[in-house]
Each structure stands twice: as C-alpha cells, then as structure tokens.
C-alpha cells in the first residue's frame, strides 16, 4: 500500500470518526471506563516488501485492553513479533509495538460487533546481541496502525476475535507491515478504584 493511500485512509478515518461522534452517530457511553475488554490474539505479518527481503516474520502475539471512552473506544496494548534475518551476520530482532488507540465499535448482528480504530505508539526493535554493539541494540520509532476486526460473542462476556492491522513505522525508509489476527476476548466490569483514577 502506498504512503499516499495510507495517509488518505488514516485521514478519512479521523475525519469520519470525528464527524460521527460529533453528530451523535455512535454510542456515547454514559459512564466512560465502566467496562474493560481484555483480548489476546495470535498475529501474523503476512505482507511482503523490501523489509521482508532482509527479515522473515515469525508468529506473533497481540494483547490489549479496551474500554468505553467519552466518545468511542479507548485501547492500549502491545504486539510482539519476531523477525529472523534471512542472511547472517545481519541480526534477528524482536519488534514490540506499544500503542494507544481510539476507535469506534458498532453492532452488526445480534452476536456480532465490528470495530475500527486508529493506534499510535512506539515500535521497539530489540536486536540480537550476538551481532550488535550495545548502543545499537534497541531502536524505537513512531508507528501508526489502522486496526479493524469483528467480534463474535460466544457468551455475554466472551468473544472470538478476527482482526486485520496495517502498521506504518516512520523510520527513514518506512516499514509497512500488515497483520492478520485470531484470538479471544473477555469483558469485565472495571473496579471502582480504577474508574476513580481514570475519570
């Protein structure tokens, strides 16, 4: 996906989201931070570009926490993926993306909900120290991710999650990473002390 298309999608998402919230098209929670949803996903980086000519992605894991916000949904979380060098002595590295996101959620059917969110965060790259000088072992850079998915509710609290993510890492030569995910989530009532801090 070209940078221009990515920028346009992100921009459109921002403006449409803002417009929907402003005009009351989305659910406005009466009580922000009332509930929490914990999710764990298996994730796989499936696209291929110049970055993947140097490194091969392994299976990854994403975990996150989402809650009702003043408008839309607020989420925080992290995604871990390992990349193996295709040619030595280039180092292997592990990427850890720590993000905060804001998005929208909509009921599609009785047990099916769709969600779309925009995430920003730090894309940490931890290199294998067998090949790397100590000062170059950890790199980090801003990354923006467009995340979407559906949740199929198996019970009132538990749902099966299918997701797709597109992440852009703002290194000098941009990293463009697309992910497919499959996992499970569980909704919980937020404890009173936590609501007191967050509100």
């Amino acid at each position: 996906m070209s940078a221009r298309i990515m920028t346009t999608i992100i921009g459109a998402f921002f403006w449409v989201g803002l417009f929907l919230c402003e005009t009351g098209q989305t659910k406005e929670p009466d009580c922000p931070f009332d509930s929490l949803r914990v999710a764990v996903n298996y994730t796989n980086n499936f696209n291929r570009n110049i970055h993947h000519d140097f490194w091969k992605p392994e299976a990854g894991l994403e975990t996150g926490l989402a809650t009702d916000f003043y408008s839309g949904i607020l989420e925080i979380g992290g995604t871990w993926v390992k990349y193996s060098a295709r040619q030595k002595p280039r180092p292997d590295y592990q990427s850890l993306y720590l993000f905060v996101g804001w998005g929208l959620e909509k009921k599609v059917m009785t047990k099916l909900r769709g969600n779309l969110s925009l995430r920003v965060g730090d894309h940490l790259m931890i290199f294998d120290d067998d090949f790397v000088e100590p000062e170059g072992r950890v790199e980090s850079e801003l990354a923006v991710e467009l995340a979407g998915g559906v949740s199929l509710y198996l019970s009132r609290q538990t749902a099966l999650e299918i997701s797709g993510r597109y992440r852009r890492v703002y290194t000098r030569h941009r990293l463009e990473l697309a992910f497919f995910g499959l996992g499970i989530s569980r909704s919980l009532a937020a404890p009173g002390w936590l609501k007191g801090i967050l509100r």
Partner: protein, 649 residues
C-alpha cells in the same frame, strides 16, 4: 501541498458546524490574551515553544529550541528588542541579540495566561518598544499546590532495522526531555512559589549534529538547561510586596552571528526583583522597585579555542505613582538603569547609566470612548531619547472594539546597541567598522496600529488589524556568510549599513468561530511587506515571510478529552546573507527557503479528577519540508508526550 489546501479548508469548515464565539480578551496592559487552556490544547510542552503559537509574531530558529522573533514587524531578525516578563517584571534574557525564552525560571503548568503586546509599550518602569511577552502565573488562594511534569519527544526518521543493511542512515533523531516541579502556596497575607525545571534538547539534523559535535570535541551535542526560581508575596492592608529570585543555566550551542555558526557556551542568568506597592487610599498608590539581572556566558571547551566569557549586569531601581479617578487614570515614574558589561577575563568592558522619566494617562470621555498617551524621556551617555505613544479606544455595548495606537521614538543610541559596545571594548576579532553610525543623529521610529474586533454573527468573532512601521537612521549588519569545507561550518564577513529610511506594513485577520460546547475553529491570516527603503533594507526583511496562514480546530468531548488540530502555512523566505554559502555548496544549503504547510495534532486527556494530565502531540504530521533558517534543521514528523500531576494540598 497547495493541491491539498482546498480540501483542508473544506474539512475545517465541515467540522466547524455550530461554533460559538469566543469573548475577545484584552489583558491588563492592553495586549491580546492567550489562555493557559489554549496553550495546553496546542500541545506545547516546552516554555520556549510558546513563541510558535503567537499568531502576530514571526519566528525563526536553527535548532527548534532558541527562537528569534519579529513581533508584528516591530523588529527584524537581526535585532531583538522585544521583552520577556514574568508577572509584569522584566527579565533581561537578551544576549548578543538572542532572547531565549527557555531561560526564564517558570514552568509551563504555572502559566495562567500570556499577554502579547505587538505595539510599543511603556508602563510600570518598562519600555518594550519591540513588543512584550508577559507570562502571568497562577496564584494560589488560601491553599497550596504541587505540580510535577515530565515530557519527552522524538523526531521520526531513525534507520530502524535498516541500519544493518545497505539502506542505513544516520541516527540523530531524538529530541530530548523536559522535567519540572513547582510548589505554590497562598495564605491570608503571604504567598509564594518555588520552581525547578530541567530541559535537554538534542539536534535532530545531521548538519547541526556534525557541525556542533565537531566544534565541541566530538561528543553528542546537546543543550541542557536548569532553571530555578522562587517568589514571595507579602500583603497587608492594601500594601503588597513581591520578591522574585531566579537563576538559569543553559549549556547551549549559541549562534554567534559574527562567526556565522554555533559556539558551545554556558549561559548564566541570575535575577532578583523586589517590588513594593504602598496604597495611600483608594485610587492612589506608590510603587517602588529594585531589580538586579546578571546575564552572561562562560567559556565551554571548543576547537576554535574561543574565549567566550561575556557578562552583562543590570541594576534597575525606580518609583511610580499611580492615581485613578472616575474618568482619569494616570501614573508617572522615574527609573534608573545601570548597565555594566564586559569580558569576565580581562576586565574590558563598559558602563552606562540611563535615567527614564515617564508618564501615562488615560481619560474616559464616555462609556465607549477613551484617549490615552504615554510619554517618556531617557537620558544617558550625553544623549537624550524621546518616547511617545498615543492610544485611542472605542468599545460599545454590543462588543465592537476599535483601537488606534501610534508611537514616535527617538532612541538613546547607547541603550540598544550593545553589540557596538561589545566590539568597542576589546573583542577585536569582530573586525567591525563602527564609524558609519557613530555620528548618526537621525535615529527615529514611528508606528501606527489600527485594530478592530467584534462579533460578525452570534457565533462568529473577528479581529482585523493593520500595522505600519517606519524606521530612520537604523543600523543593520551586512552579513556575508561563507562555507568552510574543512569542518562543514561557516564564517562571516560583517560590516554595518546605516538605513536612512525604511518602512514595513501589513494586515492581519483573525476569525474565531464556535457553534456548540464541543467544537471551536480559529482562522487567521497575515500579509506583510516592505513599503519603502533601499535594496539592502528590503533584502534584510525578506528573512520574514510575507504571507502566513493559521487554522485551529478544537474538539472537546468534555472537559477531560480534547483533540486539537492546527495548521500553519508559511510563505517563502530569502536570506541574502547565505548566497555565497549556496553557491559554494550547491544543493546542500539554500539562501531561499520554500513555503510549507505544517499540521499538528494534539490529544489531551485528564484523569483522576484532573489531577493527571496527559498529552500526545504530533508535529508536522504531513512530514513537510520545514525549515526556518538556511543552515538550520529540517524538522520532520515528530511527537511529544507529556505527563503532568497537579494536586491541591
């Protein structure tokens, strides 16, 4: 970028459905107010960055940390006659023509509002011909408050994993961090404040990184600031005393125009101000003040072995009597200023004592119409200077407001030309010929500012302003910079030019639009240009863009969550002094700087009943080619995060 302009403007208007007008706010000195809410929502995380949200002022920077300013054409980038004040008390932070706002011992979260005066101002012992930025701090009433904050930023463009491939690029993209704490208390007759702040700023541009690293002896160059301050307020029966002390130390890469490059040095500032107001009866009071300001540099290790140890000390003392009746308000004062400057090492230097006699009157002819004037006489160094400001104001009940301000100044030669003294007192390396302006007796400046504001509709507020500046007998530096290939730095040939006459003018328009409690829109534009003067005068002012546009869209879901989107367009600029550098380096450095659009996005969330404030700010989200100075940094997409904790004890 221009192709995106219609869609950006369209989106601004689409999202601005239902805005409510903001009250037009005028500060105690007659300047425009920028509230702490606006400052916070703009995503400002460093004190020095306040300069960037002042729409009326143009600014430029090499490193994104120290800014030079042109306040509505009162000055160009060579002089910096504008003043910075905290709670109305002036800090002399000007050093060799650079006012670094970061050096003030104030934390951003202490700021209640800033007042911007873009016309000459005279009052309370303060003469601010080049404009005034007054930072007014929050007071604690019958309580005490503790605040702590930490912010950090980073610029994008790291090599990332590609550093281990043939696509590797230099890694100089960290910005640095700011940490601060302050404690404010207020009891019945006593109040006070303590503040501490540290800031670290790294160059995020390869040219700056290599140039500054090399002159400093090949360490990772950075600017490191520590600021400490305190104040004590004592009040009893209408009398009030305020004592302010402050110190800041900035390890800086100080841009020395006479060298054409940055020089590592330590900037030291010490400040003490005692201000007492004795109230005789309602409407009659006497103010007394005494201030000491020590501002200078200390040598830092540099490969040029430049012994850069400069120091200026300023003592100011004076009295001011104020009276006010039903229709007439007036004040008169006498201030003595003693300036002492020189080299710390060899003792070369000079001294100057100036006496300022001034008066300021305002008569209210009717509820709507008032007339005021300020008159000042400066005496020193066998010379006299005259200052006159006239103000006519009209404001009706419907909220329409109009003000005409005119000023006429014949400045004291000595009070503003420190560089001249500097060269005369032992700094022979400057190699400057000061004879052309030694005998110039035609120095005078006059300004006219006309401002009108009011509601355009129930939900739309406007301000339109025109300004005109006329300069006679000014001296400008004719700087010709050249490139030194050995260490990728610069040198300078400098001579002086006397400007017989030159004029500058412009027009500003601002709209504030608010339909409901959630959305606010601000749009502003400025067009300014040289109206008269010779080719050298015109070329000097081409450093300043002729056109500037700003827009701000603010979405508040409630008091706890705010999104702010701001856009700035800066027209092209031309720095004639870097023409030789451009010729020598080809594509690397350019005398002409291109226009650019800059769009910033800031999210602010409060937690824990507003005890915790978090900010995530993205600057230059379009990753435009932003550059303010020909040899300055190019600023890419960058981001800042701030965590602030405040509590009432």
């Amino acid at each position: 970028m221009m192709r995106r302009l219609p869609s950006i403007i369209f989106l601004f208007f689409i999202m601005a459905v239902g805005l409510k007008a903001r009250d037009y706010q005028i500060g105690p000195a007659g300047g425009r107010i920028i509230s702490s809410q606006e400052i916070r929502e703009a995503g400002i995380t460093r004190l020095g960055d306040l300069i960037q949200i002042i729409e009326e002022w143009d600014s430029a920077s090499l490193d994104g940390y120290n800014w030079i300013v042109s306040p509505s054409g009162l000055d160009h980038f060579q002089h910096q006659r504008w003043q910075a004040a905290v709670d109305g008390r002036v800090f002399d932070i000007n050093l060799m023509g650079i006012n670094s706002l970061a050096r003030l011992p104030v934390n951003l979260n202490q700021v209640d509002y800033i007042e911007i005066i873009s016309e000459p101002y005279l009052g309370e012992g303060l003469w601010a011909e080049g404009g005034l930025l007054n930072i007014v701090t929050r007071k604690a009433d019958s309580c005490s408050r503790l605040s702590m904050s930490l912010s950090a930023g980073n610029e994008t463009g790291d090599p990332g994993p590609y550093r281990y491939t043939e696509l590797a690029s230099p890694n100089v993209d960290r910005i640095g961090w700011t940490g601060g704490a302050d404690y404010t208390f207020g009891l019945k007759n006593i109040g006070g404040r303590l503040v501490v702040r540290e800031e670290v700023n790294y160059p995020t541009d390869q040219n700056l990184y290599f140039r500054n690293g090399r002159i400093a002896g090949n360490y990772y160059p950075r600017q490191d600031l520590i600021a400490l301050g305190g104040s004590l307020d004592l009040g009893r029966g209408g009398d009030a005393t305020r004592i302010m002390v402050g110190h800041s130390r900035l390890d800086d890469f100080f841009f020395l125009p006479e060298y054409g490059r940055e020089v590592p040095t330590r900037l030291n500032l010490y400040y003490l101000d005692i201000h007492h107001v004795r109230k005789f009866r309602e409407g009659l009071s006497l103010g007394l003040f005494l201030a000491y300001n020590d501002n200078g540099t200390l040598k830092a290790s540099n490969t040029l072995d430049l012994d850069f140890k400069w120091r200026t000390r300023r003592w100011r003392g004076g009295l001011e009597i104020q009276g006010s009746g039903e229709k007439l308000k007036g004040k008169a004062g006498l201030v003595f200023t003693k300036d002492n400057w020189g080299d710390r090492g060899d003792g070369n230097g000079g001294e100057l004592i100036i006496a300022d006699l001034y008066t300021d009157w305002k008569y209210r002819f009717s509820e709507a119409f008032s007339q005021g004037f300020s008159f000042g006489l400066s005496m020193g160094d066998s010379d006299n200077g005259l200052k006159f400001i006239g103000r006519t104001s009209w404001q009706n009940r419907a909220g329409y407001f109009m003000r005409l301000v005119g000023s006429y100044v014949t400045p004291l030669w000595a009070e503003e030309n420190r560089l001249w003294y500097w060269s005369r007192n032992g700094f022979d390396f400057l190699n400057m010929d000061d004879s052309p302006f030694l005998h110039n007796d035609k120095r005078r400046r006059n300004t006219i500012d006309l401002t009108a504001a009011g509601p355009l509709a129930n939900n739309l507020e406007f301000e339109i302003a025109g300004f005109y500046r006329n300069f006679r007998g000014e001296f400008y530096q004719d700087r010709v910079y050249y490139f030194i290939a050995d260490d990728s730095s610069f040198g300078a040939d400098i001579s002086f030019q006397t400007i017989d006459k030159g004029s500058f003018g412009g027009i500003r328009l601002r709209l504030d639009w608010r339909l409901n409690s959630k959305l606010g829109l601000g749009l502003s534009g400025k067009r300014q240009e040289v109206l008269g003067g010779d080719s050298f005068y015109k070329a000097t002012w081409r450093n300043i863009p002729e056109t500037e546009l700003k827009g701000r869209l603010c979405w508040r879901t409630n008091d706890n969550f705010v999104l702010n989107l701001s856009a700035t367009y800066l027209g092209d600029r031309y720095w004639r002094e870097y023409l030789r550098v451009e010729e020598a380096t080809g594509d690397r450095f350019h005398a002409g700087l291109n226009e650019f659009w800059n769009i910033d996005l800031t999210a602010q969330i409060y937690f824990w009943s507003k005890k915790i404030r978090t900010v995530l700010a993205f600057k230059n989200i379009l990753n435009s080619d932003i550059q303010y100075h020909p040899i300055g940094a190019e600023f890419d997409l960058s981001y800042f995060a701030l965590l602030e904790f405040s509590t009432t004890l």
